[in-house]
Amino acid sequence: MNKLSHPQLDHIAQHIRSTRPDPALYDELVDHVASLIEQRMAGGQAFPAAFDGVMQQANAQTLDQLKQLYRREFTALPATPVVRRVRSRRRPAPRPLWYTLLAFLTVMGCLVAVSQPLAMPVAVFRTVGAVGGAGVMSLLLVRWWLARRPRKRGRFVLA
């Protein structure tokens, strides 16, 4: 059987590439078309005639249909939504109010705890405690006030 030369193979490869086939199929398309052309050349045809004959069958429309088929059958579903779902389960949305309250209680607890070893009266922290407590209470009040009012839809949506 006639073997194709490198320029002839390049010519075939260039034609197949121009149809932008599915990458999984490219090498096999080139080999398949080259084998068909070799078969025709063994039957006495010259390369240009054999190439044209095969390419009438392996035309751009045909290869495009094949590409669409591969896109439907073999393309994996995007993984992004799954990743997002897993992340959202693993890492809950931050809740600033509760973090603030927790931080305040932690700081106050630490101050009370160190006051006795350092021989500091607890009253020293009274002002700090009062200001912090008032701040937290006001935050809780604002939050409660906002929660009891019905939210307007699309309030923050840009027109």
Binding site: K3, L4, H6, L9, A13, A24, L25, D27, E28, V30, D31, H32, A34, S35, L36, Q57, A58, Q61, T62, Q65, L66, Q68, L69, Y70, E73, F74
Partner: protein, 118 residues
């Protein structure tokens, strides 16, 4: 060809490919099309667009394994059966009585108009 016939033709072609590979060991795409045509006595040209999706589906299902190597200046992908592929091919041998009839029905699988005479 309606969807049911396409599915039927696809299954039949899968069976043919598995049996061929069980007989021949390893084969590449063009070689498989020639063998299918030969088995069908030239009455059933295997469509270009039908074979490779089936081969790749079988590979995805773990029934075939592949190896590419350079032959005559181009990459050639060879297929052969995995263990489960061989078991499946063996199982399909029991249906060989109906196999020839199915082969005759293997005309124009999905999608229509794809590369006849290969």
């Amino acid at each position: 060809m309606n969807a049911a016939n396409q599915a039927f033709a696809g299954r039949t072609l899968k069976t043919m490919v598995l049996r061929l590979l069980a007989q021949q060991g390893r084969m590449y795409g063009y070689e498989i099309t020639q063998a299918v045509e030969e088995q069908a006595g030239g009455a059933m040209p295997l469509l270009f667009g039908a074979l490779y999706p089936v081969l790749h589906k079988l590979e995805e299902e773990g029934l075939l394994t592949t190896q590419s190597q350079e032959v005559d200046g181009r990459r050639r992908k060879y297929y052969w059966l995995t263990r489960s592929g061989a078991e499946t091919a063996g199982g399909s041998g029991a249906q060989s009585g109906r196999f020839a009839d199915r082969v005759r029905l293997l005309i124009r699988p999905v999608p229509d108009g794809l590369f006849t005479g290969l």
